[in-house]
Symmetry: C2
Subunit: 124 residues, 2 copies
């Protein structure tokens, strides 16, 4: 039969986005990437203090979902960095809408500054 389960929970776009991004950490990693962070230690040093096993898990899942690419930026010793794909960058309007609503309803919150300007190498 051709009743292939195309979607995990339903064919609602919101549901499918939540199946990828619906937790307390994934979108914060995306936020850091949008702000220009690229390296493991940079993500770890964000004020929310993500645990290293959660970070590793989220980076792997984001890579599997095609939102992030991992690449070595040097050998000996091998060091890696993470960059948003075009698909990942497409989430910026979502983050923007969240920031607008968040700033309005959580007084005192502040948009974080970018950590690296210019030089926006985006890998397809």
């Amino acid at each position: 039969m051709s009743t292939t389960m195309r979607f995990k929970r339903s064919d609602c776009p919101i549901t499918n986005v939540l199946d990828t991004l619906g937790d307390k950490w994934t979108l914060l990693v995306i936020r850091d990437l949008v702000l220009g962070k690229r390296r493991y230690q940079e993500f770890l040093s964000s004020p929310e203090r993500i645990a290293s096993n959660i970070l590793a898990d989220r980076l792997a899942k984001l890579e599997a979902a095609g939102l992030v690419t991992r690449r070595a930026y040097q050998q000996n010793p091998a060091r890696h960095e993470y960059l948003l794909t075009k698909k990942g960058k497409g989430l910026e309007p979502v983050l923007e809408a969240i920031i607008v609503w968040g700033q309005k309803h959580y007084p005192g919150t502040k948009r974080f500054p970018t950590v690296r300007q210019g030089d926006g190498a985006v890998k397809q």
Copy 2:
């Protein structure tokens, strides 16, 4: 001295939004409310099949967060409905941005139809 911990994880607006909405179910309840659903059984009947204990938990948290109001629409027996507050309705642009990105990257997903047009009249 203002050493009061104003924020749970950080003063990032995104982080604070995620502390309220960052899981796989809360935004789906909001979606249902935006679509016009109001009653417990209506939320339960959505295709994602939320468990009743999770639904009760999320409705209580949404009410505590000021996104939803609960009110009796009849007595004997008491029956309640849930409505978005103005603050809750303010999330529509966030949902909209998620739908736009979701429809683009999850081919075959479809925006769900509203279930109730117009205002207060609730038909049985």
